[in-house]
Symmetry: D2
Subunit: 389 residues, 4 copies
């Protein structure tokens, strides 16, 4: 697609094939299923993870030794964009689980890889990360979940919130406080298999119009974590989770751009086809200018995000640029889809129109991997070194 | 409440009593019921119309001879605002039905009054107006519903969309084309009792997060309308519906202001109570400025709406001012509640917080009684006479 | 004028006469002189102060015993608005001097009144207030000007900046640090006659397009202030200057509204008269919507400002409301005049069009009596008590 | 400079040398001269064209055979950006003249090249283009200037407005109506030497704060144009001027980005150095967020403009993208510099601060090579083909 040509000309033949595969998968029954679920006020059926797994795409970035494709970051971005054009939440959830698979394949221990990777790549064992807590938002210093050493592993107590896929997930990557040598505590991370209920409990976080995120809180009471579940030891966990945040931000930003591009296309088509006061809507100058302005900012967002993607692709970790790209792409997508919704009149506001779904879902992008306020603070700290005459 | 003091000092003792009655009714179980319904993804139970009726408030503007209070426009506005502070959609629906009662009492024929008014005032027979059609939006010239004369009345064919309370309504005020003497057609209006199913069919228009509007389309096939149902004869119907549009616009605007005022108050309270990074949220200057800016525009909206209310109260029909007040109040409420939602972080985006309900519901205000685009056109036509040096 | 009718119906017959007098004074040669000066890149000739004085209007709020009119705050506002419709800076300067006259008449000592009032009311001795300093902006705690007691008075050292009328002023009301009993220092205020040069020096602060403010810095070196010049003693000066800040803010806000109203009227007239692409500019829907939106926010600003004026008129000191009104009116005027300028195309950007003058001048309103940032801080502090459910 | 690295890594060694040359030229006395002129309310002295010529840079894109460098479009962009960082108007004027040199060298006839190129490359004969007319704005169909054939050439009558460098220009490229064979008329273009006064007259168009554009109207009365002056014959002139408009739009956009980047850098430095209320301005979170947001949109504009530049560099004529890039870059620069101005408080609003100059000058970018309204219309027409699902 011409809109994404900057990206596509940097992909290999194989990678273009993956993008093509994603496009074909999404355009058919997947797209319809996502929208049908929205209409019914439900999440898209979880079986779609397994259907996606069947194409082999969950291993997009996994090692070839594990049956993966070892595709590049930019390829992952494009696959996510093809998906996000049909439904931001469904795309976000599939990509979130896929990220867990990638991490397992690339950095998991032998035991972790053995226990988790095969079912995860088949879409039978769903993974998610768990940082935020009900009372603490994004302030890591307020983290209260604890993992205490017990025979053969750890005992987990506390609660995690805003879990992607939380209602159906089978394993979590959890940040928790552990006792340190000095009698204080530090933060470590664990793979936490959920298994049979009993020591944990889920509660859905309902976001009207955006149920496909399947957001949930999970509460742990003396929940057992086997020894092989430890991912990062005391001290290294926070650093590890910070290292990946920039590529995660750009990932979200790139999906926002794709969802906005699809939304604008739908609005333009609608305005060509619908008559009012004796001419097609697109014939009304006021509306046409509004659509044109959406396209202006969409192109700006796309260009900025591409630049950030390109940096990550070549191995740079662009802290400030990633934050700027996410801030701008999220703001632009929310504003732009809202404009599209309004241009359609009341029609756009009902669940029966896909723009309604796009608007509700893309709003949640503002909270993933750094709120606007956190991003502005991050950017603000870098201003003096970044902008000098 | 100090915020509404401009209004309240122009009300009579009796009217202040009605406002007080509304405030007390809303603050208790009603407020909880509205929010519980939102959490469950449902509409607020229809029984609340009857509970409200039991206070006698459905007759707020009905004639004393009919058991009403003959309260003024400004009193109606204040009552609606007290309600809208707890839930915009629930308030909108109650007020919409109440407007039907008022119209019946003030302008209904004897037969209409006799058949409809007592059960309507008891909240047992719900009324709504029906102008828009599925394919035509707000372009009246595209109206296609027809009413053909038959023995003892009329036969109705066509469909109406975006009906407030449409899923539970018992009687509609319908605009339809009727044959005229010259062999062409004109537009008349009718009270249309629905009665038993058979010649009509409903379909819900789902608006995620705003189910309490109970929006629906209703399709008519040879639906019988009794002779006494005619409201405005051929030629007068459009004029009548235009005459009331200015006060309706200001009404919606006033409710938007009230919902925003409640939202800002909730956001301020939240930011006082919640800690992040070592101090209450309200201690962060960036957030505090954002809240302050919401208050600035809220006060502007309130002042503008009050001025329009005041004009209508003294008998002026302020065409341009009503359009300006609705445009500004709706834009400000949607923007302002969105700001409040975002300031709360992800918490504000979940159904578990009332701000999420306010945001979803108040967005629909943009479509009631004139979209932004129609308002700008209306205002634009009046500029040369309104602004001259 | 209909736009200001909310105000005018609260004025007395005499006061309406003053407004009428101002309108007639401004519409003729004054308006032309203001604009001719702008075209030439100069300040409006200072003789216009004397012409205005000749109408007796400099004593608008002075005591009758001093030959004044004892007009109300609302009357002053309306007079300032009539003037601001022709030129914000010229109006601001005349009003600033007039405020000095009012203060002298109402609170001056016998000696001050005797020395200063007669020539001030004749427009021969111009007065201004002097708080800000070159290095300190609006942070009063950073004030460095000193007044040390000497025989017969005080000796002033330091510098004041951003002085309205600073290039032509004859007397200043200066805040300065004075020694206190404890060996520290406190802040007092003085009338400072400038007299012959020698111990003071002026430097113009050039604001392109807005020279009529005649902004200047004045530097004092051992400048003598006679004993009778002390206005507020140590400790009371800051309190006194704070007490008047709310009415000053609303005053500026009201002038902004008037300048925007005149600007919109000019833009509408221009768009009616000018053809492009085969029809008048006002026939292009996109432009018409832009003009309509300006009118929407103008009416909101006017309504909000009126409410603040009304509060002050009845003796309330509306701290939060005054800050909100100024923030909104200034932002709206700058934005709205900018829209008008742009709608005119390049024409609006040249000095040959009055909108260019209005835009340059009204931007300075953002700095008078509290910047946006100070206002947001002030409003933010009042949020918890002002907005409660 | 890191900010422009996307561009610079695509330039040749020679081209990087030109950019370096421009940077060094600008940072010294040129930058001071531009600002000193602004302070004095005057245009930068015209001698700076000759100083710039002395570096050989006026022939940046001229043919080597003519003594030029044959540099690429992207190199021209970067040179213009280095200049625009010190003064948008001065850069615009130098670049406008340089564009005339480039066109002469690349497409001029032998006679034109002989008469005009050597003095033009020395900066002794200044060139400009002349399309707009006093009454007609950007509507070419309203063009009224005429060129009638006379012995040895043409006789020109009419007026041209908004001429860059118009107060000092020596030769114009003029669009004018000429008689056609059918007795009607068509549009042709001419090099028009001005020579001694007598048959033409100039009038300055004053833009306060932006005198360095030296904008003027020029009126022609039977002004003689020699035969060799014809550039495009009847019919081809409009097409030729349209062909270059996309690269011109991107050129303006790229300069806007550079001026904003310089402005943000100045604002950041100011906020680091200035204290208020006990800490540097940059320590106030509200201000820091405002600066951060400016950087976000600046990066978006830079990325979008770069993409358009890249397209032109490889020979694509990106009609829609050029319009989008100009719309976004101009809007962002005006908004962003305004934010920077305000963040500095009143200081930023005075001529004594370079941000004041940047703001006044960059506003004029909105009118060069297509107003926002024309751009939105152009973009709007391309939406259906550009955005399709």
């Amino acid at each position: 697609m011409e809109f994404f040509q900057q990206y596509d000309k940097l992909l290999s033949e194989d990678e273009l094939g993956h993008v093509q595969c994603a496009r074909e998968f999404c355009e058919g029954a997947f797209s319809e299923a996502v929208f049908a679920a929205h209409l019914a006020g439900e999440a898209v059926p979880v079986e779609w993870v397994r259907k996606w797994a069947a194409t082999g795409m969950l291993g997009l970035q996994a090692r070839r030794a594990h049956g993966g494709h070892e595709a590049s970051y930019m390829c992952k971005i494009r696959v996510a964009q093809e998906m996000a054009r049909h439904g931001f939440a469904a795309a976000f959830c599939l990509n979130h689980h896929q990220g867990g698979v990638t991490r397992l394949s690339q950095t998991g221990t032998a035991a972790q890889t053995e226990h988790l990777l095969p079912p995860a790549m088949r879409g039978e064992l769903l993974l998610t990360t768990a940082m935020s807590e009900p009372g603490g938002g994004s302030d890591v210093s307020a983290l209260t979940t604890t993992a205490m050493p017990v025979v053969g592993g750890w005992s987990l107590n506390g609660a995690k919130a805003w879990l992607t896929n939380g209602m159906v997930v089978d394993g979590l990557i959890v940040l928790a406080r552990v006792p340190d040598a000095a009698g204080g505590n530090d933060i470590a991370s664990f793979y936490v298999p959920l298994g049979e209920a009993g020591t944990f409990r889920r509660r859905e976080i309902v976001v009207p119009g955006a149920r496909s995120f399947r957001l949930a809180e999970i509460f742990f009471t003396d929940h057992f974590v086997p020894e092989w579940g430890q991912v990062a030891s005391s001290g290294a966990a926070l650093k590890a989770s910070m290292a990946s945040v920039n590529s995660a931000r750009v990932h979200v930003a790139a999906m926002c751009v794709a969802t906005l591009q699809a939304s604008l296309s739908e609005a333009v088509a609608y305005c060509e086809g619908r008559q009012a006061f004796g001419m097609p809507l697109v014939g009304h100058q006021g509306l046409r200018w509004e659509l044109a302005e959406v396209s202006v900012r969409l192109e700006a967002a796309n260009s900025l995000v591409f630049r950030a993607v390109e940096q990550i692709q070549i191995g740079v970790n662009p802290v400030r640029l990633a934050a700027q790209a996410k801030k701008f792409a999220v703001d632009t997508a929310i504003w732009g889809i809202d404009q599209c919704v309004r241009i359609l009149g009341a029609t756009g506001a009902s669940a029966a129109h896909r723009l309604n779904m796009h608007f509700a879902e893309v709003r949640m992008a503002a909270y993933a991997d750094g709120t606007n306020e956190m991003l502005l603070d991050r950017i603000g700290r870098g201003l003096p070194s970044g902008y000098r005459n």
